[in-house]
Symmetry: C2
Subunit: 159 residues, 2 copies
């Protein structure tokens, strides 16, 4: 044994590979399809739509930028660029934190909220048609359990 000796990676076996490949291929196809439906129907990207959803769920339709980055699983700099584009399009505004002066908040505008309300039926129809309606109740339950576990793991794993 030398220090430099490499450990053989634990490659996936056939069943593990089947689960992983099905998941990764499906998730990319699904992301692309939902994005295209929003883009073609409402001129909005799936990434921007997700930001509008997150803001709409908050009290006062506003959220700290750093929390927004965590919630959409993106880097602060990437979310910062995205929010700047969305502000230029009139979908949200950025404001300084009113209470403690720390950080910057993103606030949904009326135009952004209207955009979200217009696009939501298209999005939910796509989510049903390409995903939810293809699953049994038991399968939905397994997926909720599995992906909640993944989220808990990733939140706790040195993010």
């Amino acid at each position: 044994m030398t220090v430099a000796q490499e450990v053989e990676p634990r490659w996936l076996d056939e069943d593990e590979m089947r689960a992983w490949r099905a998941y990764i291929v499906a998730s990319h196809m699904l992301e692309y399809r939902l994005h295209r439906e929003l883009q073609e129907g409402h001129g909005i990207s799936h990434a921007d739509y997700e930001i509008l959803v997150r803001l709409s769920e908050q009290p006062g339709h506003q959220m700290r930028m750093s929390q927004l980055a965590v919630d959409v699983a993106s880097s602060k700099s990437r979310v910062s660029h995205q929010v700047a584009r969305m502000e230029a399009a009139g979908l949200l505004r950025r404001i300084g934190c009113p209470s403690d002066g720390r950080g910057v908040f993103a606030v949904l505008t009326e135009k952004g909220f209207d955009q979200l309300k217009q696009a939501a039926p298209t999005h939910v129809e796509g989510v049903r048609r390409h995903f939810v309606d293809l699953l049994s109740r038991e399968e939905q339950e397994v997926l909720a359990r599995v992906f909640d576990r993944v989220i808990t793991h990733l939140h706790g794993d040195g993010d």
Copy 2:
């Protein structure tokens, strides 16, 4: 009834929403984490890594560009830009189709194949740690079945 009457969207119920939200949040977090590990460890994006994997699995390490776009669930123009960047980095080359003159092929270079071999252990370790090893065999089986169904649906649904 008038033609213009709108149909109320079929919003998700609580269980459906739980499955969908867990899936979409986890998949974005997982994508971001795997991307970051490849980027920090090997200076390669997860999207570029996926292209290298697809090419490495083909006879002669080559693939028609249009098929590559289908396989990574992206538009032809987006894959075209990505492949141009990867060619500039020396990871692949583009060549005209030798047999019938139709279309353009992407071919893995030696540098690209080396890059893939160096990054693969990091990637498989991330896939295990953040996903596969968190699932029981039964859960892996359910996910393989569910996501194969989603893939079949999306392939057949006016792509």
